[in-house]
């Protein structure tokens, strides 16, 4: 049992918090057909971190976060610039911006060899959830022991704050978010500031992606922004119910994924542990697959189900 406290409790908590935070924002991204903005932003966290390392020479958390934040800002600005001034379709603009910045990050990393520094592409992509060990977590009493608690990995309080921030944002901005997602022109006419709300939403996505990136890598973030919310969309036609479903799916994927990666191989008789981040993403995808097959509201209302000769769109 002490094993669980020391090795599994913290990663599981972090994964759950990140999953539910991402899923919360993901609901709005999916409804606005902007799912891929999370993909773009989590890809550029790496270049930001590399740049901040090259400038400051440290891997301190604040420097890394600032670097990633600046990179996200530059990416969003670049996407807007390419889209509006270059009249390029938005998904293509996104593709141009994030791949170029990601390429720059990889180049900087390889150019400086980055040897000895614990910073590499694989780490950035799938993180190291398993390495977040709570050394003082010997027994349940540690949960009440202030000294032991102070030894918790700093990522835990960080993602918890971000989770609270995002929850606060969604609560306060609930109506403008909903109105702006449904009908931006109407939102502008009642001065619900749809552009500002858009920007804040993207900012929240960036903050979440960056905080999560450091702890768990980018793949989990992309999966959690999209899969739980998309699966929830197929379960219900009410927004509030959709939010609850997405939270359930997110927590389920986080916990089930972590357990499967840690103990799954053991059950099959192998001496190994698999990537927790990858497993969580896979479970989320599996849930979405089930929702696609059996979700009560999986079909589009306008589509009467008749097969069409024409491809979609």
């Amino acid at each position: 049992m002490s094993d669980f406290l020391m090795l599994s409790l913290v990663p599981m908590l972090i994964a759950s918090i990140i999953a539910s935070t991402c899923a919360l924002l993901g609901n709005f991204l999916v409804l606005r057909r902007q799912s891929l903005i999370g993909d773009a932003i989590s890809h550029v966290a790496l270049p930001g971190i590399v740049a901040s390392f090259l400038i400051t020479g440290t891997l301190a958390a604040t420097a890394m976060m600032v670097g990633a934040g600046v990179a996200a800002l530059i990416t969003v600005a670049m996407i807007a610039l390419i889209k509006h001034l270059g009249r390029v379709e938005s998904s293509a603009a996104m593709g141009v911006a994030f791949t170029a910045i990601f390429a720059l990050g990889v180049l900087m990393l390889e150019w400086h060899g980055a040897s000895g520094v614990h910073l590499d592409v694989e780490h950035a992509l799938y993180g190291s959830l398993e390495s977040l060990i709570w050394f003082e977590g010997h027994d349940w009493g540690a949960l009440l022991d202030r000294q032991a608690l102070a030894d918790l990995p700093p990522q835990l309080p960080r993602v918890a704050w971000v989770g609270l921030l995002v929850a606060g944002f969604v609560t306060v901005a609930w109506r403008p978010l909903v109105v702006g997602s449904f009908d931006p022109e109407f939102a502008a006419s009642v001065r619900a500031h749809p552009t500002l709300v858009d920007l804040l939403l993207v900012a929240m996505v960036a903050i979440t992606a960056i905080a999560a990136f450091e702890a768990v890598g980018s793949i989990i973030v992309i999966a959690m922004f999209i899969c739980p919310a998309a699966a929830a969309r197929l379960m219900t036609n009410r927004l509030s119910a959709q939010l609850i479903w997405s939270q359930v799916f997110a927590l389920l994927s986080a916990i089930l994924g972590y357990v499967l990666s840690g103990y799954g191989p053991g059950w099959l008789g192998f001496e190994a542990s698999l990537s927790a981040a990858g497993m969580i993403a896979s479970v989320a995808g599996l849930i979405l697959l089930l929702a696609c097959l059996f979700g009560p509201q999986r079909r589009h209302h306008d589509a009467s189900g008749e097969p069409s000769l024409m491809p979609e769109r």
Binding site: R33, A229, A272, A281, E312
Partner: protein, 403 residues
């Protein structure tokens, strides 16, 4: 520098030259097929395809490793990658056409999930203790450093074949991209052509894995086409420009990576492509930012100038700050907003021109509606002299009585 120049001149050895040629062919075919995908507004589908190759790569690696002891057999890995990418592509299609979810959500879900599955498989390989597993991470960001001649030949050959296939089907692709329903009525099997387009995209992705890596190959199918769009309005020209840009990016990227050992090719190719894009975005005479901003500014000044002059002529007060500034700059009003003599003359001219235009619109509504003149252009440049003469006669009849 010398190394770079010798690489640029294809004199840095057989292998480097072969890789350079391969990357150029890859860039050209990616640019070509990417243009059609861009016209179809489905650019990021290739992101889903490329990420979806990872589980196939890992499975193929495990399979060949258990059979031969070393998993790094390029054709086998490519087949595995192609199979799982096909599965990913099918998932994207199925989710976006059979459920209410949009294509963006389908792409995001497929790319993250399958990539996650691939990561799980890679960690499984790492614990299996088999040979050559370090080679597998090369596929994330690409590496041509240790590429065998046979591998480079395979890549170059496949890329050339793809180029040929795109070229053969260019007309069908274009019709489907422009108007799928019309294409269907001309007897083109729209769905098949669409599928073929996506399969070619998939093939480019799989071939490019070793060169640019799976995260960056998407850039090669997006950036050159977008660049091409800045220089022409004709679709086939755009396709041609895109493939030239792609080839150029491949050429620059691979040769640059020879400057220093250990430089990854993928990022350099992508950044070269991006440089070409950035230059086009800024400087293209048609759609470039500089040209457009200048034109917009010119037009805005024209509008404000005309509105200001008309207000002067009609003795109306002017409230708009910009209008006042422009009038001042032309010397049409003084600092205290009193019109100068030249301002009054210009105002008279503007009023005169405005009246001729509005008379033209009332007399010849049909022509005015079709020609779509705004009325900012000097009337003498738009209408033949005899028409203007007739308008003047109507406006100011010979026996006097002008307004």
């Amino acid at each position: 520098m010398d190394v770079w120049i010798s690489a640029l001149l294809f004199s840095a050895g057989y292998n480097t030259s072969l890789v350079t040629l391969g990357a150029m062919a890859l860039g050209a075919s990616a640019g070509m097929i990417g243009s059609f995908i861009l016209l179809r507004k489905r650019s990021l589908v290739s992101d889903a395809i490329s990420h979806a190759t990872l589980p196939g790569l890992a499975l193929a690696f495990i399979l060949t490793a258990t059979l031969t002891g070393d998993g790094r057999w390029l054709p086998g890995l490519m087949i595995g990658a192609a199979l799982s990418a096909t599965f990913g592509l099918w998932c994207v299609q199925a989710i976006s056409s059979r459920t209410r979810l949009g294509e963006d959500a389908a792409i995001g879900a497929v790319l993250s999930t399958l990539f996650g599955l691939g990561v799980v498989l890679i960690t499984a390989i790492q614990t299996m203790n088999i040979g050559g597993q370090a080679g597998l991470t090369d596929y994330l960001v690409g590496s041509t450093a240790g590429m065998l001649a046979a591998e480079a030949q395979l890549i170059a050959l496949c890329a050339l074949l793809l180029l040929l296939a795109c070229f053969m089907f260019r007309r069908e692709f274009l019709l489907v991209c422009f108007d799928a329903e019309y294409a269907y009525t001309t007897g083109i099997r729209t769905r098949r052509i669409d599928m073929l387009m996506l399969l070619l995209l998939l093939a480019v992705t799989v071939i490019g894995l070793k060169v640019t890596g799976l995260i960056l190959i998407v850039a090669l199918t997006i950036i050159p086409p977008v660049t091409g769009r800045f220089w022409t309005n004709r679709p086939l020209h755009m396709v041609a420009i895109a493939s030239v840009c792609g080839a150029l990016a491949g050429y620059l990227g691979v040769t640059l990576s020879s400057i220093r050992s250990g430089l990854p090719t993928g990022p350099l190719i992508v950044l070269s492509a991006f440089m070409l894009f950035a230059l086009s975005l800024l400087l293209s005479p048609r759609r470039g930012i500089v040209a457009k901003l200048a034109a917009h500014q010119r037009f805005k000044t024209q509008v404000h100038l005309r509105q200001g002059l008309l207000s002067l002529a009609r003795h109306e007060a002017i409230y708009d700050g910009l209008t006042l500034r422009i009038l001042k700059r032309h010397g049409y009003i003084r600092r205290d907003h009193v019109p100068t003599p030249s301002g009054l003359a210009a105002a008279r001219d503007a009023e005169h021109e405005e009246q001729l235009w509005s008379l033209y619109r009332t007399l010849y509504p049909d022509e005015a509606a079709y020609a779509g003149y705004v009325g900012l252009e000097p009337i003498g440049q738009c209408l033949p002299p005899d028409t203007i003469m007739a308008l003047e006669m109507r406006r100011y009849p010979p026996q006097g009585g002008a307004s």
